[in-house]
């Protein structure tokens, strides 16, 4: 290679790097900025925030928005419900899905194909909103906490993810335990379950995030019972309150209020997002692995 072409390659490389970093920095900014901005607004005085111009830092600092959220009985109750549904559903779903996966990873199981097809079909055939709605109603699950837990307790997708992992475990483990006379249930609890920790962490994260972020089931089934609504649903109510008062924003600007629906919503958003934002970076290696197991069966 002569000097000229080496030089050209160098220029190409630098140009490529510059463009690459511009795109990546823009991407990171676009992802992070709205969250920092929401945080800044949530820490700002309400009336002042309406004037606009708040970007990365609050202009008139106050914690009033957060105090108000924590004083709001509805929101506190909603947090309790959200935490309860997330914890109960995650533990229960994880255990039951793992148990089903165990039964279906046993290659000699006589009904293996039947049960597998029964569940895999549910990924493709869905009766739809109205028949499901009527079923829930007939089962007495409306205005009931358990509507968050019982429907969708076993997901075929999670079952496949866990089963794929279990298939990778050596058969000899379960076999030697069986020779010692252990029951299937004991083998599942004492031998298989502890070995599945990585995949269980992945699926637990999927379930917990889904539960934490659900609002549609609240709207559909529990909207009339204030003691059963979830955090996301309350946040949605705040959101529509903000949208609807858009016209009166001008009036509020002059009212000198410390808080406005917009700043309260910002505070509620931060509170709602906080647990997940703190948790997910630590589980990253699990979900990346889990997604590649279950995502595409290549």
């Amino acid at each position: 290679m002569n000097n000229k072409s080496v030089f050209k390659i160098k220029v190409d490389e630098i140009l490529f790097d510059v463009i690459k970093w511009i795109f990546l920095v823009l991407f990171v900014l676009a992802t992070i900025y709205p969250i920092i901005n929401t945080l800044a607004v949530s820490l700002n005085e309400g009336a002042d925030a309406l004037k606009g111009g708040i970007f990365l830092l609050p202009r008139k600092f106050t914690l009033e928005n957060y105090f108000l959220v924590f004083k709001n009985k509805n929101l506190v109750q909603a947090s309790i419900i959200t935490v309860s549904r997330t914890v109960i559903a995650t533990v229960l779903q994880l255990f039951l899905t793992a148990m089903l996966s165990y039964v279906l990873c046993r290659k000699d199981f006589i009904f293996r194909k039947f049960v597998t097809i029964l569940y895999v079909l549910t990924m493709y055939v869905n009766a739809g909103l109205i028949p499901n709605f009527l079923l829930i109603k007939h089962l007495g699950l409306t205005n009931n906490f358990w509507v968050y837990i019982v429907p969708g307790m076993i997901s075929a997708f999670n079952m496949i993810v866990i089963r794929t992992f279990m298939n990778g475990l050596p058969d000899s483990l379960a076999e030697s335990a069986k020779v010692d006379g252990a029951s299937e249930f004991k083998i599942f609890i004492n031998i298989i379950l502890p070995l599945c920790k990585p995949v269980l962490a992945t699926v637990a994260l999927f379930i917990a995030v889904y539960q934490w972020n659900s609002w549609f089931d609240t709207m559909l089934y529990n909207a009339f019972d204030n003691s059963l609504t979830t955090l996301q649903y309350e946040l949605m109510k705040l959101l529509s309150a903000v949208t609807n008062q858009g016209a009166s924003a001008e009036a509020m600007k002059n009212s000198g209020n410390m808080v406005t629906p917009a700043t309260i919503r910002a505070a509620a958003t931060i509170i709602t997002a906080f647990p997940i934002v703190c948790l997910y970076p630590f589980l990253q290696r699990y979900f990346v692995a889990g997604l590649t197991i279950g995502g595409v069966k290549e």
């Binding site: 709205p34 006589i110 549910t122 739809g128 909103l129 109205i130 006379g181 997910y280």
Partner: protein, 322 residues
């Protein structure tokens, strides 16, 4: 000798080598597994298959006061009504348009992001960008649409402020009140939420490409753009292809959360999807029959598309999806 015999007996008794013997023996041997699976079969039948019986509502004038079989049967009346109804045809158009826009933008951004990230040599920075990129996936649509509404606000929204700062527009645009922006807003909301998450699978596929190929290309004097074009992209082509096929089967699921949360009376004409239509007629107006008919239409088309996609994948030499 004795010990081996006992072990053999145990193996037989506990049903390990159960492929031998007649079906009753096998069932007896596996009674524990069968017992364990019974609750799951019952659960699937009640919660996933029983609701399918509700599909008969689409062929009735369903009144909730009466039983499912005591209703007045009307044949295909509701389906005929749906397809002569201009609103429903618009709803189908919206659903298709938004899911195709989401699909195209989603693919372009996820793949583009994965390719760029793969070019980052500093491992710590790469990890950091990755972690940040997953964040929006974990936020609910309630939060994401809240953020979108904030960003597009006419008074304090960053988008309007930037556009005015750079003199691209003279006065703020009320994006959410204008039907011509709605599909794009939905598309980019999905991009914001899903790009990082969507890139995971491509990054995994890229790591499977042999480093020898890149070395050989370097010796031949290829620059990095050429390497991306001639090695990385062909390397992840099977992954792209199979994901594309899977998503084709989902073309009638444009999602509904984002449209429901961002939509308003002014943009209804372009924001309503099949799911919102079902919600509005079924839950809002308690016209269960009509809503069920619309739901069935979606389910049946989806299943047909998935079956076609499955065969397409097989024909193209990829492993079947199911």
């Amino acid at each position: 000798m004795d010990a081996i015999d006992i072990t053999r007996k145990n193996i037989k008794r506990t049903g390990q080598l159960t492929n031998k013997g007649n079906i009753w023996e096998r069932m007896l041997n596996q009674k524990e597994l069968i017992l364990m699976s019974i609750p799951f079969v019952a659960y699937a039948l009640v919660f996933y298959y029983l609701p399918l019986a509700g599909w008969v509502m689409a062929f009735q004038n369903f009144k909730p006061a009466k039983g499912l079989l005591d209703q007045k049967w009307v044949g295909f009346k509701h389906f005929i009504f749906l397809f002569s109804d201009k609103t429903f045809l618009t709803v189908i158009r919206n659903t298709l348009a938004m899911s195709i826009i989401n699909l195209a933008l989603g693919f372009a951004f996820s793949i583009g992001f994965a390719l760029l990230l793969n070019e980052v040599r500093q491992l710590k920075i790469k990890k950091l960008i990755q972690t940040v990129s997953y964040l929006p996936h974990f936020l609910s649509w309630i939060i994401v649409t809240g953020i979108v509404l904030d960003a597009l606000s006419t008074e304090t929204g960053i988008i309007n402020q930037l556009l005015m700062y750079f003199n691209i527009i003279q006065s703020p645009i009320n994006f959410l009140a204008d039907p011509k922006y709605f599909w794009g807003i939905v598309g980019f909301s999905n991009v914001w939420k899903g790009t990082g998450w969507g890139s995971i699978i491509y990054l995994a596929a890229i790591t499977a490409i042999s480093p020898d190929l890149y070395e050989a290309a370097s010796i031949d004097g290829a620059n990095r753009l050429q390497k991306i074009w001639h090695i990385t992209l062909p390397g992840i082509k099977p992954t792209i292809f199979i994901l594309l096929i899977i998503n084709m089967g989902n073309v009638l699921n444009a999602g509904f959360e984002v449209q429901y949360l961002l939509g308003n009376g002014l943009v209804q004409r372009v924001s309503q999807t099949i799911d919102i239509f079902v919600l509005k007629y079924g839950i809002g107006l308690t016209n269960y029959s009509l809503a069920t008919a619309a739901g069935i239409f979606r389910s049946v088309i989806s299943i047909i598309l998935i079956v076609i996609a499955n065969y397409a994948a097989k024909a193209a030499g990829e492993e079947r999806l199911f």
